[in-house]
C-alpha cells in the first residue's frame, strides 16, 4: 500500500512539465458537463465492471479451479479442465456443430432476408401485411420454434407428407434426427425464426439508398442485375456486416431451439456449447468444466465482436 503511494507521487514529480499541461487539459474535461456526465455514468460503470467484466474474470478463474461436485473447490489446477475439454468427444462434436450451424444459419438468413426485402421493395400491394407476416416468427420464442419444428420434422407425419403428396416419396429425410446432418435441420428451424428480422434490416437499408443513385445507374445503362451487383449490394455492405455479427452471435449461443428439438440428439448430433455447459454445470455439478465451456463461448464471441467494434470505430472516424 504505502509503497504504491510513494511510486505514484514519485512518477508525478519526476515528469513535471509535460504532465502539467495534460493535467490542465484533464481539468478542463473535468469541469462542467463532463463531471456531470461522469457522475451520471458512474453507477452504470460500476455495475458493468462488476456484473459483466468481474463475472467474466470470475468464470475464467473458476475454469482453472477444481470445482467438480456440489462442494465449491477453488484449488488452482491450471489448464486441467481445458485439456479435458479439448479431448472431450462431445466438445469436439459441439465445435463441428457450431461451424455447420453457423454456415447454414447465417447463409439462410442473409439469402432469405435479402430476397424477401428486395421483393418487398418493389412497391407491391399489401406490403405492410407481408412485412408483418415475414417478421412474425421473430416474435415467437425459441422454445416454441423448437417444439413446432420437432413436430414438423417427424419423418412420417411432418413436412415429409407434403413431399409424399407431391409424388416425391423417395425424398424422406429424418431431419434433426439424422446422425450426420441433423444440425443443418436445426439451422433451418432457427433461420425460419430469424430471417424476417434480417429482412427488416435489409428493407431499412434499401429504403436508405437514394433514388438518384438508382436513376443515375439506369441512365448509365445498368440493368437490374448490374444495379444490384454494383450499386445496391455494395451499398448494403454495412447492413450485411451487422446481420453477420447478429446471426454469428446467435450461432454461438444457440440453446433454446436445440433443447426443444431434443438435444443433444443421438450421438450429440445437434448438441450446442450452451446446452453442454448447462448439463455439465447443473446436471453433473462439474462447475469448472462448465466455466471452461462458457469461456470458450466468450472467446468465440470476442472473435466476432472485436472486428465489428473496430470497423465501427473506423466508420465513425471517417
Amino acid at each position: 500500500m504505502a509503497n504504491n503511494t510513494v511510486t505514484v507521487s514519485g512518477e508525478r514529480g519526476s515528469a513535471a512539465s509535460p504532465i502539467q499541461s495534460t493535467r490542465k487539459r484533464w481539468w478542463r474535461w473535468l469541469s462542467g458537463d463532463m463531471i456531470l456526465a461522469f457522475l451520471v455514468l458512474l453507477p452504470s460503470i460500476i455495475a458493468v465492471a462488476i456484473f459483466i467484466y468481474g463475472f467474466i474474470g470470475w468464470t475464467f478463474y473458476i475454469s482453472m479451479s477444481d470445482w467438480k461436485s456440489s462442494i465449491p473447490d477453488f484449488t488452482f489446477v491450471g489448464l486441467k479442465n481445458w485439456t479435458r475439454l479439448v479431448n472431450d468427444r462431445r466438445f469436439q462434436m459441439d465445435m463441428r456443430n457450431h461451424l455447420f450451424y453457423a454456415i447454414g444459419f447465417i447463409g439462410q438468413c442473409i439469402v432469405i432476408g435479402f430476397t424477401l426485402a428486395t421483393l418487398l421493395d418493389q412497391k407491391i400491394k399489401g406490403e405492410g401485411l407481408f412485412r408483418t407476416l415475414f417478421i412474425f416468427p421473430f416474435a415467437v420464442s425459441g422454445i416454441v420454434t423448437g417444439v413446432t419444428w420437432q413436430w414438423l420434422m417427424q419423418p412420417s407425419t411432418g413436412i415429409n407428407l407434403i413431399f409424399a403428396k407431391l409424388g416425391m416419396g423417395w425424398f424422406r429425410p429424418t431431419w434433426h434426427a439424422n446422425i450426420e446432418y441433423g444440425i443443418w435441420a436445426v439451422s433451418i428451424a432457427a433461420a425460419w425464426q430469424f430471417s424476417g428480422y434480417v429482412m427488416a434490416l435489409y428493407l431499412a437499408g434499401l429504403r436508405g439508398i437514394p433514388a438518384e443513385l438508382r436513376e443515375a445507374a439506369a441512365i448509365d445503362g445498368a440493368g437490374t442485375w448490374a444495379l444490384y451487383r454494383y450499386i445496391i449490394i455494395p451499398l448494403l455492405m454495412p447492413v450485411t456486416f451487422t446481420v453477420f455479427v447478429l446471426t454469428g452471435m446467435n450461432s454461438i449461443r444457440i440453446f433454446d431451439v436445440v433443447a426443444a428439438l431434443g438435444g443433444p440428439g443421438p450421438g450429440n448430433s445437434i448438441d450446442s456449447l450452451a446446452l453442454n455447459m448447462f448439463q455439465t454445470t447443473f446436471g453433473a455439478y462439474r462447475f469448472s468444466l462448465g466455466a471452461a465451456i462458457g469461456s470458450v463461448m466468450m472467446f468465440l464471441a470476442i472473435f466476432l465482436v472485436v472486428p465489428y467494434l473496430m470497423s465501427m470505430q473506423r466508420e465513425t472516424e471517417r
Partner: protein, 447 residues
C-alpha cells in the same frame, strides 16, 4: 483547415461519448434489471407478511407440473392449508423439459442453495441424488428428531430406511415409491403372434420380436435421445440380478465386467426392434407411440405410465416386471428435505410432517400413480396396479434406481446417459463400455 479538423474531432468525440453511453446502458440493462426488481420485491414482502399474520411463507420446489402429479401435490397443499391457514404457500414448480428429470428446477435450486437462499423444502430423489448434491455439501439438516417424534423409523420399511439413512441420519421424508423395472405390454400384440404370456427374459423377447417383425410390427418402444437410460437399467438389472446390482455402485464390481458387455449387447440389439422414426422421438413421444394401432408389443417404463394410459382412456395394456427381473423392485422415491438456513423453519418442518403423514401420502399417491412409502396406507383408495405393487413391495428385494437418482451421483448419471446417447448413433458396444468404465472411475464408487 484547422477549424474543420477541430470540428470533426469534437464531433467524433461526441459520437464516441454517445456510443459509449449507449453501449454501457445496453450492457447494463440485464444486470440492472434484477437490481431494480429487488427493492420492489422487498417493498412488497412486508405487506404480504402483514396480511398473513406473521406466519410467513412456505416455498416448495418441485418438477410436478403434469397431470396427476399436480393434483397430488395440490391435495397435500390443501391439507397443509387446512392445518396452517395463516401460512402462504408458494408452489415453485418448474416443468421438467429436457436435461433429465427436473433439470431446470435443479439448476434454479442449485443457484438458490449456493446463494444461501434456499426454499423451505424441495423435491429430490431419495438416495445419492440428495446425498451427493446437497448432504455432503453440508446444506441439509438431519431429521432424526422428526423421525423420532413422528415414528417414521417404524412406519417406513426397513429396506427403505437403509436408502434413507446416510451417515446414520435421515435427511429427507419420502412421499412415494415408484417402480422403474416394469414392462407395459399389449395383449392384442401377443395374440397377433400366438403367444399367451409376456416375455420372461430377453431371449424370449427377441423370439417374439422376430415374429412381430415378420408382420411389420415393432417389438419395443424406444426413444432416440434422453429416454433409453431407463430401459437400459432394467436390462443391466436382468443380467446382474438384485444381489450384484448394488455392487456396481460401491466399487465391488467394475463396469468392465463381461456381464456389462452382455447387457450392452442386448440394448444394442433392441434398437433393431424399435418403432420406425424412434430417433426423432423424445421420451414423452414414446408414450403415444405405445398406444398407436401399429405400436410395439411392449415398452419399459416406470409406473407413472399407468396414470398416463388411464388419462388417455387406453385399455389395451397390462404390466409385469421387466424381462428377467421379476423378484426385484427397482425403486425410486420422491422426498422432501430441510435445507439449512431456511427463513421459516417451523413451516418447513410442518410441511415435512404432512409429507410423511398417512393422510398426506394417501392424498398424494392414489392420483400420482405411485404407492405410499408408509406401510399403513388405506388400500381402499388405490387402484389395481397400485394394490399389485404394494403386494410386490412387501415381498421383493428392494434396490435403488440408477436412472432416477437413487443408486449413483448425478455426474455419473449424466455420463451414463451420454454414453447410451452415443451408442444410439455409433452402435458400438465396446466404445460405450469404455466410456462407462471411465465414468465409473471418475465417480470413484466405494471411496
Amino acid at each position: 483547415m484547422s477549424g474543420t479538423e477541430g470540428m470533426s474531432r469534437r464531433s467524433f468525440l461526441r459520437l464516441l461519448g454517445v456510443g459509449t453511453t449507449m453501449t454501457v446502458l445496453a450492457a447494463c440493462a440485464p444486470a440492472a434489471a434484477p437490481a431494480a426488481d429487488a427493492p420492489a420485491a422487498d417493498a412488497a414482502a412486508p405487506a404480504a407478511d402483514a396480511t398473513v399474520a406473521d406466519a410467513g411463507k412456505l416455498e416448495i420446489f418441485s418438477w410436478w407440473t403434469a397431470g396427476g402429479e399436480v393434483e397430488g401435490l395440490n391435495n397435500m397443499f390443501e391439507i397443509y392449508k387446512r392445518d396452517y391457514p395463516d401460512v402462504e404457500i408458494i408452489n415453485a414448480a418448474l416443468a421438467a423439459q429436457g436435461a433429465g428429470q427436473g433439470g431446470e428446477m435443479k439448476a434454479l435450486l442449485e443457484t438458490r442453495m449456493i446463494g444461501g437462499d434456499p426454499p423451505e423444502s424441495f423435491q429430490v430423489h431419495l438416495g445419492r441424488e440428495l446425498i451427493d448434491s446437497h448432504v455432503v455439501a453440508d446444506r441439509m439438516e438431519p431429521l432424526d428428531d422428526l423421525y423420532a417424534s413422528e415414528g417414521y423409523n417404524d412406519i417406513f420399511p426397513a429396506d427403505l430406511m437403509s436408502v434413507i439413512l446416510y451417515d446414520g441420519h435421515p435427511w429427507s421424508v419420502p412421499v412415494n415409491i415408484h417402480r422403474s423395472n416394469l414392462m407395459w405390454y399389449r395383449p392384442s400384440k401377443l395374440e397377433a403372434i400366438g403367444a399367451d404370456a409376456p416375455p420372461a427374459n430377453w431371449d424370449e423377447f427377441f423370439t417374439m420380436a422376430d415374429a412381430l417383425k415378420e408382420q411389420g410390427l415393432p417389438g419395443i418402444a424406444l426413444s432416440g435421445t434422453g429416454g433409453n437410460g431407463h430401459t437400459m437399467e432394467s436390462v443391466i438389472l436382468s443380467v446382474f440380478g438384485a444381489e450384484d446390482w448394488p455392487k456396481l455402485f460401491d466399487g465391488t464390481i467394475g463396469w468392465d465386467d463381461p456381464r456389462m458387455t452382455q447387457a450392452l449387447e442386448i440394448m444394442n440389439r433392441l434398437y433393431d426392434y424399435a418403432q420406425p422414426d424412434y430417433l426423432s422421438q423424445s421420451g414423452a413421444d414414446v408414450n403415444d407411440v405405445m398406444m398407436a394401432d401399429d405400436g410395439p408389443l411392449l415398452m419399459i417404463s416406470g409406473d407413472w405410465l399407468h396414470g398416463y394410459f388411464k388419462s388417455k382412456e387406453f385399455t389395451d395394456y397390462t404390466w409385469a416386471a421387466s424381462p428377467g427381473t421379476e423378484s426385484t423392485y427397482l425403486l425410486l422415491s420422491d422426498s422432501f428435505g430441510l435445507p439449512k438456513g431456511v427463513k421459516n423453519r417451523d413451516n418447513a418442518v410442518n410441511w415435512l410432517k404432512v409429507c410423511g403423514s398417512k393422510e398426506g401420502q394417501d392424498a398424494f399417491n392414489p392420483i400420482k400413480g405411485s404407492i405410499p412409502a408408509r406401510t399403513d396406507a388405506d388400500p381402499s383408495l388405490y387402484d389395481e396396479y397400485q394394490l399389485w405393487a404394494m403386494e410386490q413391495w412387501k415381498t421383493q428385494t428392494l434396490v435403488g434406481s440408477l436412472q432416477h437418482g437413487a443408486a449413483a451421483k448425478q455426474s455419473f448419471l449424466l455420463d451414463y446417459d451420454l454414453a447410451l446417447n452415443d451408442m444410439v448413433a455409433t452402435r458400438d458396444v465396446a466404445a460405450t463400455q469404455a466410456a462407462l468404465v471411465v465414468a465409473a472411475e471418475e465417480a470413484a464408487f466405494g471411496q
